[in-house]
């Protein structure tokens, strides 16, 4: 075992290497834009240079003269498309702003023309020669810009139904011995996955194949079909590998149906590869947020009152919000809680999911405030969390299905050397570097969604698993193959997994960290159907019921079923059945899933359940993160030499891929705290640093020490796989941990991200 392949603890699978490792490191993994096309034409987008106004006209003469140009599509001649509603309103779209529909401009970088040419270079050159005349009006850029409107999220957002509250906050806060009121701010951020937002569309008669990196092939398939007004069965989305998503590929963007429509009209495959800067405006982003936290506590640190107000920026037409108060209102024992989420409308494109959408901004606020409270109480911040740890969430009183928060704090504190921290701010240094230690809690809801799978077992043990899941870099192929191996008792190298294709049995969106829990539960169930058939074939009738019970086709947790498993002689079973192949298809849904779950699953609609919204319990994964920051006395440069996180996520399917996920999360958390922000020119509501040279993400030298500790945790109440999902767990607490460490290093409390050297005063 190595650092990359940690020794499995109790309730962890084997750290087998990635199923797709060799294909990826040798460049043989085919991403959407790698798919060979027969005689494609190439599309290049023209995007708006204003954020609000109208297009008066185009001068296309110069562009049309470029050799190889086939067509230039604008709102005047674009294919007519039907509207799709927002994903949260029963549709598929991440935005209801549909470009090329009229001369109106609703945000910076909106698609206003598509140039199609015989080569990418010709299309790009012609796009550069398109001249546009606009009538611009003054846009509202963000918070505090003139012309924005603000209203409570509740009542306008389908995603946000209730501001959680309990008890009497006002009274409790008023009388609390120790009080804190503080405001926090987080910036706009963009996902910037490595793979650009490419789309290729190929028509074969009335059938459309779309090659596009997507986190939800069923959603995209149904959404594009709806926009084109065709039967969804005629649309297929293919993407065996996705070059990162982080939420940006979760809902449909307008580009896909546009490209499909043009391909149909030109009767030719079309390949679109937008640029990095276009990716900033043709998809979604994490909206900027503001928070006010009020905490009231007793002298001994017991929380008595908590109020969290959040505000988020969205577009004019769409009431998108993440509303993280659903988590922050429930994280600690506190009898009096109030909250309010508001949405601020500006002339921007609609924001969307970005890794841990609610928790990243809202826990930054709460976990910073907890640290501030600990300072006020002169208390170790770890102890403040311990005092307020709880087995039941305070709003509805439901029990946490399992909660290892303090175990994570203790493990991480030990590994980090928290005991060596001298609590006084500005008390630790090393030469020209001030040193600060900080910590924060992290958590993410455990979520599941309905999923189907098909599994085929051959006599020689070769196994084929088919599921329209998504390999977004997380290790999905690997853990699904491991699941089949474990359930069917076949060697890993005999298992082939097929994903990323909407012709396969439906799987949920790869979002909300639900993939492993959902897809592995479905694959387990279908493998058990196979086992049951085989058992039936070899067991006397009288034992069939018993056999059925032992293979656990119900929702019995994996570990329990495994315990009572008996070895199965596949050869004998196949002989008895008299067949060469056994194939099973099945549809799994989590407890509490709505009645229309399976119907919705096939039509690409999300039915995620879990987190705080479960009937008799609340399910979250937890962790604790400790960081060391160093601040240069002279340059005020902020560096983060050590990040240590301990996490508990139920069953860990594969400690290797899980560690990699968590490590990536910690690094991103650091990046979010210190580097990442999309700069907005407030005069014109445009993004300025829309490239990877100016939108900074960490390089190797920024993360010399990252340590991931995975705790053994068993939770039999969440899903058959016993999995909590940890893709979005690790990048949540880091923002606060770093600001808390900066306070320890400098005595200075920074409440606005990202923290840059000019914010440090020492």
């Amino acid at each position: 075992m190595t650092a990359a392949a940690p020794e499995p603890k109790v309730n962890m699978g084997q750290p087998v290497p990635r199923y797709d490792a060799a294909a990826k490191v040798t460049g043989r993994a085919t991403y959407a834009s790698d798919m060979p096309l027969d005689n494609p034409a190439f599309a290049f987008l023209v995007t708006s240079a204003i954020a609000k106004g109208r297009i008066d006209g185009f001068d296309l003469d110069d562009a049309k003269r470029v050799r190889g140009v086939i067509d230039i599509v604008t709102h005047e001649n674009a294919p007519k498309l039907k509207e799709s509603k927002l994903f949260s309103n029963g549709g598929y779209a991440g935005t209801t702003i549909q470009p090329l529909k009229s001369a109106d401009i609703a945000h910076d970088g909106q698609i206003i023309a598509v140039v199609v040419a015989e080569s990418y270079e010709a299309a790009r050159e012609a796009a550069n020669r398109v001249k546009v005349s606009y009538t611009a009006t003054a846009p509202s850029a963000t918070f505090d810009s003139p012309g924005t409107t603000t209203a409570a999220a509740k009542g306008q957002s389908a995603q946000f139904k209730e501001d959680p509250e309990v008890g009497d906050f006002a009274k409790a806060f008023d009388t609390a011995e120790v009080k804190l009121t503080a405001s926090y701010e987080t910036p706009t951020q963009h996902h910037n996955p490595m793979e650009l937002f490419s789309t290729s569309c190929v028509w074969m008669g009335d059938n459309l194949v779309i090659y596009e990196g997507s986190q939800f092939v069923y959603g995209l398939k149904n959404g594009v079909a709806e926009q084109l007004g065709i039967d969804a069965d005629k649309v297929r989305v293919v993407n065996p590998y996705v070059g990162g998503g982080f939420g940006s590929r979760g809902s449909m963007t307008p580009r896909t149906a546009i490209i499909a429509g043009i391909a149909k009209r030109l009767n030719r495959p079309i390949k679109l590869v937008p640029t990095r800067d276009q990716g900033f405006t043709i998809t979604t982003h994490r909206a900027e947020t503001r928070h006010e936290i009020k905490l009231g506590a007793s002298r001994d640190g017991k929380l008595l009152a908590l109020r969290h107000e959040g505000a988020e920026v969205s577009s004019r037409p769409d009431a998108y919000c993440v509303g993280g108060t659903k988590t922050t209102a429930r994280l600690y024992a506190c009898p009096n809680v109030a909250s309010l989420v508001s949405i601020v409308r500006a002339d921007r494109n609609t924001p969307g999911f970005m890794r841990s959408p609610p928790e990243v901004p809202y826990l930054f606020a709460l976990e910073s405030a907890m640290d501030e409270l600990a300072v006020k109480l002169n208390m170790d911040p770890v102890e403040l969390r311990r005092i307020n740890d709880t087995t039941n969430e305070p709003i509805g009183g439901k029990p946490y299905s399992s909660r290892s928060l303090m175990a994570c704090f203790d493990e991480a504190a030990k590994a980090f050397g928290w005991a060596q921290r001298s609590p006084q701010p500005k008390s630790m240094s090393d030469g020209e570097w001030l040193i600060g230690y900080g910590c924060a809690a992290t958590c993410y809801p455990t979520q599941m969604a309905p999923s189907a799978a098909r599994v085929r077992l051959q006599r020689d043990g070769r196994t084929r698993v088919e599921i329209a899941g998504h390999e977004i870099g997380t290790g999905a192929y690997t853990v699904i193959a491991q699941t089949a191996t474990e359930r069917l008792g076949v060697p890993l190298e005999k298992v082939a997994v097929f994903m990323g294709d909407s012709d396969l049995p439906p799987a949920p969106v790869a979002g909300g960290s639900n993939s492993t829990a959902s897809t592995c539960s479905a694959v387990m169930m279908v493998c058990d159907q196979i086992r049951q058939r085989l058992f039936k074939a070899v067991m006397p009738d009288s034992l069939t019921d018993k056999a059925k019970e032992t293979v656990g086709i119900s929702q019995a947790p994996a570990t329990q079923a495994a315990k009572s498993d008996r070895p199965l002689d596949i050869e004998k079973a196949f002989n008895a059945l008299g067949v060469g192949v056994v194939e099973e298809y099945g549809e799994w849904k989590p407890e509490g899933a709505p009645l229309d779950s399976f119907k919705a699953m096939h039509s690409g609609q999300v039915r995620i359940v879990g987190g705080h919204a479960m009937k008799d319990q609340i399910a979250y994964a937890f962790g604790a993160e400790f960081v060391e920051v160093r601040i240069n006395r002279f340059t005020h440069e902020i560096r983060c030499p050590r990040l240590v996180g301990a996490f508990a996520g139920g069953r860990i399917m594969n400690p290797r891929t899980a560690r990699s996920q968590l490590m990536g999360g910690l690094i991103w958390g650091m990046s979010s705290a210190l580097l990442e922000a999309t700069e907005i020119d407030e005069r014109n509501a445009r993004y300025v640093n829309d490239n990877l040279a100016d939108y900074l993400v960490p390089v190797n030298a920024d993360v010399p020490g990252v340590e991931v500790i995975m705790l053994s945790e068993q939770d039999d109440h969440i899903n058959p796989a016993g999995v909590k999902g940890l893709g979005e767990l690790a990048n949540v607490g880091t923002n606060a941990a770093i600001c808390n460490a900066i306070h320890h290093a400098t005595g200075q409390r920074i409440r606005k991200l990202p923290v840059r050297l000019e914010n440090i005063e020492v």
């Binding site: 050159e125 002279f634 340059t635 005020h636 829309d690």
Partner: protein, 338 residues
């Protein structure tokens, strides 16, 4: 990117001829129809972005045989313009006798870029101003003379506080040039009438009323070498930036000193990340020269270096930062073991 012709120049005369032939007499060098290609790390980017639209590319890499010498002698140093940044940074004698040069190169860009980029191309790299590099912004006096400056009242955290005009506040982005300007380097220029030498400090032009004219080079002229007299073992390059590697300076200082018995006999200070051109801080040097070094003096020198600095909405912090960087670089240079 727009179509262009491509020619490999097999000797300097061919290169000069090819670059001159396509040039109109009044062209600013940056707008010249023919552009030389060395490492390509700036030019190709700007062509893709449609910021530069040359119709002819003259690949000067075949001249590397004669133009990539790294030649440290007892009396001074000669560096060929086509030497790779990484080769110079790794050269043992450069590290020993000119640490300011080795470090300015080592702290620039990424390993991959340093392997491609040449010294001549490096000093000619163009500003990273976001508004300059995005043609959808009409207002850029550097790109479209007379159109205004979007950065002046826009997002200007990375922009210059020294050497700016009311036409342009774009920062000169490089590192190596600060070392050259500090060490009074000469630059050798090869043109139609052979080679000429001029002080490196005369190569770059502050924006003034013509921010589109960035250097004194004329179309058809190529940088062929740099030379520095003497050795500067007591020299440092200090660079403050947002991340630990692969990032432009928010503020940097190239400092070279001659200190004997605590007294500064000679001092060279140049500033990066804060100015529109590689910035020699002569007033600051004057404060330092002939004095006994202490922290108070370092502070006065730093204040002098930024006496004329002018901040705008997002970049004012660079003045205080720049002063601390200068003071710290001086302390490092004074205390370094040589």
């Amino acid at each position: 990117m727009r179509p262009f012709s491509y020619q490999r120049a097999t000797d300097p005369a061919v290169a000069v001829q090819a670059l001159s032939a396509a040039a109109a007499a009044n062209d600013a060098l940056t707008k010249a129809a023919a552009q030389p290609l060395a490492g390509g790390t700036t030019l190709i980017d700007l062509m893709k972005l449609d910021v530069m639209r040359p119709t002819a590319i003259v690949d000067i890499n075949p001249l590397a045989d004669g133009w990539s010498a790294i030649d440290p002698g007892n009396d001074g140093l000669r560096l060929g313009a086509l030497a790779k940044m990484s080769d110079v940074a790794a050269h043992e004698e450069i590290q020993r006798h000119y640490p300011v040069i080795a470090n300015s190169l080592k702290l620039a860009a990424s390993a991959q870029l340093r392997n491609m980029a040449t010294l001549g191309g490096n000093v000619m790299q163009r500003t990273r101003c976001s508004y300059f590099r995005d043609v959808s912004y009409e207002n850029c006096n550097k790109r479209n003379p007379g159109s205004g400056c979007a950065a002046m009242d826009g997002v200007n955290r990375m922009h210059a506080v020294l050497g700016a005009s009311d036409q342009c506040i774009a920062t000169y982005p490089g590192d190596f040039a600060q070392a050259l300007v500090a060490l009074d380097a000469m630059v050798e220029i090869t043109g139609r009438s052979g080679t000429r030498n001029m002080p490196f400090s005369e190569l770059h032009k502050a924006p003034g009323n013509t921010p589109d004219i960035e250097t004194t080079l004329r179309p058809g002229e190529l940088i062929s070498a740099f030379s520095i007299s003497g050795r500067w073992p007591r020299s440092v390059y200090l660079k403050a930036r947002d991340r630990q590697s692969y990032e432009f300076a928010l503020s940097s200082a190239a400092v070279a000193l001659d200190v004997r018995e605590g007294t500064v006999r000679d001092a060279r200070i140049a500033l990066g990340g804060v100015a529109t051109v590689p910035w020699r801080a002569r007033e600051a040097e004057a404060v330092l020269k002939g004095q006994k070094f202490d922290d108070g003096l370092a502070q006065r020198v730093a204040d002098a270096a930024f006496a004329d600095a002018r901040g705008r909405r997002h970049n004012s912090f660079k003045i205080a930062l720049g002063k601390r960087v200068v003071a710290r670089a001086l302390q490092q240079a004074v205390t370094m073991e040589i």
